[in-house]
Amino acid sequence: MSKPPEQTIDEILTLAAAQFKVARETLAADDDFFKKLGIDSLQALSLLTRLENHFGVELPDYELQGVSDFRTLAARIQARL
């Protein structure tokens, strides 16, 4: 049985906070992670490996294409769980 979407979002926010060394509570599901974390698209890609290991799924680079907020990213991961 797959996880509830809210839990997936919450876990992504925790992992992103750890990866980019910011406090978890400063991140929200609808944040634009490029702006909020001040990262470029390559740095965003480097988050994918951490997410893959955590969720145990393969996430091709294209899953990040056109995505800039945590909620949409979570939906894409959710579809693969």
Partner: protein, 581 residues
């Protein structure tokens, strides 16, 4: 390498290359550190010929247009070679565009066939503009077993079929082409108002390849790391035509995550790589962090060696010396790296210098799709971080109507110039004047014959990631907003930040809003802008807006006079007026 002056077409040159080095490895494909494919030239041929035969059986004939929308992978090159083999014209499209943009360019190019990946095809099928593809042939790679492909066929089945379905036997028929025939239609911008499909001939590519490899030769055993999208003119040349016609190897990565890119340098002992400035800066950042993390005595020793290397290579690179002095650094890049090419955007000279001081050559250059890719390139004779190098062999570059300081529009004449813009005689006539390509870029030559670029005369904005952006394209997204008119600018175009910053700094895109006289800022406007902004790829998004109190100056045909508007804005507003989005 092959003597390309003897060939009339890319297909003929590639066919001979595959025969000449049958046992050399030509292609390696790796995914997250796992090698997925390794092909020799003979194996590449064995994969491509059945595919060519199937294309022929399916009616792809001389001059048919075959579009490819794929990430960098072996099937990209196999499909491209097969299409060239049967005399088709390639239409390589950027996989990073949106599905709607893909569909618009497929329509504009009148593609007869499309080769694409499953996730891209799925997005196209879901796009509102998806039209009936029944009259076109669509081949989809790597589709899951039960996937709904609509009218498309599976690439793998089609390739394995080898034309058998209609009873074709034997080899596919090789279709010769003339030098002046079309080889590719390459789009140098997205869609929006005016797709710019550069029609490039076989001669354009053969001449470009000869010019580039005279400066940076390939030979069997060399490995080129293909990171830039292969649809891009640079990668198509140095990540396909160049290495293949010299018996060298191309390495594809299915992911561009920095950790796997770094790993691949050592894993495959990479010789050359072409990068956009953003990736190079990322590598620089990683190296700086490593240097900063060294224990003090080691750091001191390293700085001494770097200082010695800097002195010994002040005028000319000396790879042997640098590899000996700074072995650890070179080992991290595989130990056999000869040069990294950077193009497609203005490069910060400090980054080029950083790598040069380590003995790693970053060759920055200047190119346009319209000129068949590279026009100038640094030849390290001597090293200069602050220019885009000297014209390549066969390139005539001049400064049109130079001012007192020698600055004017860069104009180019060579055998690599495109034939024309597809279905746009007006734009072609504006761009190619008496055989000279008017680039719209401002530059000057210094006393040593190096070209320095100073800015863009045209509206084109080149992002740090090497993407070309056309304001008109983005403005279409904001069409119909509850304002009188709106326009998109790069902030640096309106308020240049001094030369160095202007050339190297990240461009912020700006939405200029002209409200109706006396109209207050509509309360829902910002939400609406944000919503539309999200539909754009990230590199095309606007980062802020300003409210402008006057009507936009326009030409007789109602085009915005961008430079006039920018000057008016710069005269009465400062950057502080920009409201972030």
């Amino acid at each position: 390498m092959l003597d390309l002056s003897q060939y009339a077409s890319l297909g003929a040159a590639l066919r001979d290359a595959l025969d000449r080095w049958p046992d050399e490895t030509c292609l390696i494909e790796s995914d997250r550190g796992r090698e997925k494919a390794r092909l020799t030239f003979a194996e590449f041929q064995q994969a491509a010929l059945p595919f060519a035969k199937s294309l022929q059986a399916a009616g792809v004939v001389t001059g048919s247009r075959c579009a490819i929308i794929m990430t960098n992978q072996s099937k990209w090159l196999i499909s491209a070679y097969a299409a060239l083999y049967v005399g088709a014209v390639l239409v390589p499209l950027d996989y990073k565009l949106t599905a709607s943009e893909h569909l618009a360019l497929l329509a504009h190019s009148e593609a007869d066939a499309l080769v694409t990946e499953y996730h891209l095809w799925r997005a196209m099928m879901q796009a509102p503009e998806f039209v009936d593809f029944a009259r076109r042939m669509v081949l989809v790679t790597e589709a899951p077993p039960n996937a709904d492909l609509g009218a498309a066929q599976r690439w793998e089945e089609f390739q394995a079929n080898g034309g058998a379905a209609i009873g074709l036997s034997g080899e596919p028929e090789f279709v010769p082409r003339q030098r002046s025939d079309w080889a590719c239609i390459v789009y140098s911008s997205g869609t929006g108002g005016r797709p710019k499909g550069c029609v490039l001939t076989h001669e354009n590519y053969l001449e470009q390849c000869m010019a580039l490899t005279s400066l940076y030769p390939f030979w069997p055993g060399m490995r080129y790391l293909s990171i830039l999208p292969t649809n891009h003119a640079i990668d198509f040349m140095v990540g396909f035509i160049g290495p293949f016609t010299c018996g060298a190897c191309v390495v594809h990565l299915r992911t561009l995550r920095p950790e796997f890119v770094r790993e691949s340098f050592t894993e495959y002992r990479i010789t050359y790589v072409a990068l956009v400035p953003m990736v190079l800066k990322n590598l620089e950042r990683g190296l700086r962090e490593r240097f900063d993390g060294l224990p003090k005595p080691k750091r001191f020793g390293f700085e001494v060696l770097r200082g010695i290397n800097r002195i010994l290579t002040r005028y000319r690179p000396n790879l042997r010396v640098s590899r000996r002095l700074l072995g650890e650094v070179h080992k991290a890049f595989g130990g056999e790296l000869r040069a990294m090419f950077v193009g497609g955007a203005f490069m910060d000279p400090a980054t080029v210098q950083f790598f040069y001081d380590l003995g790693i050559q970053v060759s920055n250059g200047y190119g346009l799709t319209e000129a068949g890719t590279a026009v100038t390139l640094n030849d390290f004779n001597p090293f200069r971080a602050d220019t885009v190098g000297k014209p390549l062999p066969g390139m005539e570059v001049r400064i049109a109507t130079p001012d007192a300081e020698g600055i004017g529009e860069v104009a180019i004449r060579s055998k690599t110039l495109m034939s024309h813009y597809l279905k746009d005689a007006e734009l072609t006539a504006e761009t190619i004047v008496n055989g000279w390509l008017m680039t719209g870029d401002l530059g000057r030559f210094d006393a040593m014959g190096h070209l320095q670029l100073l800015g863009r005369k045209k509206n084109m904005i080149v992002t740090e990631g090497g993407k070309n952006i056309y304001p008109e394209d983005i403005e279409n997204t904001f069409d119909g907003l509850a304002v009188k008119e709106c326009a998109v600018f790069a902030a640096n175009y309106v308020w240049p930040r001094g030369e160095a910053a202007k050339l190297g700094a990240k461009e912020m895109l700006l939405l200029v809003l002209r409200l109706e006289n006396g109209q207050p800022l509509p309360t829902t406007l910002i939400a609406e802008i944000n919503e539309r902004n999200r539909t754009l790829p990230d590199f095309k998004r606007v980062g802020g807006y300003v409210v402008w109190e006057h009507d936009f100056p326009r030409t007789a045909s109602m085009k915005i006079k961008r430079h006039v508007l920018a000057e008016e804005m710069a005269a009465s507003l400062t950057r502080a007026a920009v409201q972030p989005l």
